[in-house]
Point group: C2
Chain length 216, copies 2
DNA sequence: TTAAAAAACAGGAAAAACCCCTTTTTAAAA
DNA sequence: TTTTAAAAAGGGGTTTTTCCTGTTTTTTAA
């Protein structure tokens, strides 16, 4: 009797999710148990007692509850979960963020399908799987020369401010909307310029977009 | 004997392409003949005499030769091709562009997989298939009231200016870089604010990003 | 060639953004 | 309870952006 490993897929693009399920199901050793459209659905199920599958294939970019948020939850409540992150982008920061939160592997969606199979097998056998690309990124991040290694932690209000700053509003209007003094807003602005290394509001907007703080 | 219709999939994300193939192959009536990673590969094959498949599933956003470029080629050399566009984004402009170039259907990748089956069936039977979303977009674009129908044509210099405005530069610096008077730059600014319907430079930057004038 | 349109340029002024430095309030730690 | 640190608010200033109303120059087309 062949033992099949259960897989859960989390991806907001249903067509992709189901297609991927179809592919995974075509492997004898694996069977897709569920597909979810976002992290919340997965978390809800796990929280209500569902057993962990052998592997979770987790999309990074999702609305509602994205890959990173989901990883953080899993790290806290289900640290033994084996997660392979799936992503369109190869942004260094995102990759590191997922790995730092316990992802066992990171696959770009443009890989050869055979690599998925290999990734699944390897994660089960060895506990992790990383492509050349990810390994390189990892190495680079460990390089002390590379200064870009410290994660910037933004406060709740700062994020609220940034989001509003990415609209066509004046600081005065933002202050009103946040029920704060314009001077406080000015303080946020100044502080953010400093820690993010930007020169003006344009830089702030670009930072916000590049780092997924705002959707456009 | 069941007759199966041949499908070709074009998508740079191999994992998605193969997964989708797996899903399509699971339908009795359809079989995937090829998967290509970009428009060029498809075009090359067609140009060298390959017969058209029943339906082409064509990703919109691809490197090398994207969906729109591919549609333009097909419109010219293989106008009888039945193409269903696949896309992540529901940007009105892109949808219209694909349809204008002869796509028979436009599916967002977050649809229910069952809808794909329906789309394939319908395109074969009726020649086209459109979801509610696309129909609405179409209607809106035909509505003469909707002013958003006239494509905004930007001048060379305006585009140069916009690109620089998306960096952390002052208008003075931009003027220097373009060898123009700051007053001319101010004229560009004012004119662009008007025709693009934005209130300030932030709006301009957002417009530029949304419309692919700048890469971020 | 000439009239019209578009592009470049300007003066002046208000509004907004940006900057530095201080004080008050709040929250947490010793 | 006192000390400390951070968040919020303020004072007062410079620079940049934005806006309005023009003129001059260049380009386009009749």
């Amino acid at each position: 009797m062949i033992k099949t490993h259960e897989i859960i897929i989390v991806d907001d693009h249903l067509l992709f999710a189901r297609s991927l399920a179809s592919l995974v199901d075509s492997y004898d050793e694996y069977t897709v148990k569920y597909t979810f459209q976002n992290g919340s659905e997965l978390v809800a199920k796990l929280a209500s007692g569902m057993a962990l599958p052998a592997i979770i294939l987790l999309d990074v970019k999702m609305p509602v509850m994205d890959g990173i948020a989901t990883m953080k939850w899993l790290k806290k409540y289900k640290p033994e979960a084996k997660v392979i992150a799936l992503s369109m982008e190869d942004e260094e920061k995102t990759i590191l963020n997922m790995l730092r939160n316990g992802a066992k592997g990171y696959l770009l969606k443009d890989i050869q399908p055979s690599l998925l199979k290999k990734a699944l097998d390897t994660v089960l056998e060895q506990g992790y799987f990383h492509t050349e690309k990810v390994t390189t990124t990892l190495m680079k991040s460990l390089d002390p020369e590379s200064n870009s290694n410290k994660e910037i932690q933004l406060k709740e209000n700062e994020i609220r401010f940034i989001k509003l700053a990415c609209e066509e509003k004046t600081y005065k209007e933002i202050a009103d909307e946040m029920f704060l003094s314009p001077k406080t807003i000015d303080g946020y602005r100044q502080h953010l310029f400093e820690i993010l290394g930007v020169k003006n509001r344009i830089g702030l907007v670009l930072y916000a977009i590049k780092n997924g703080i705002v959707e456009i």
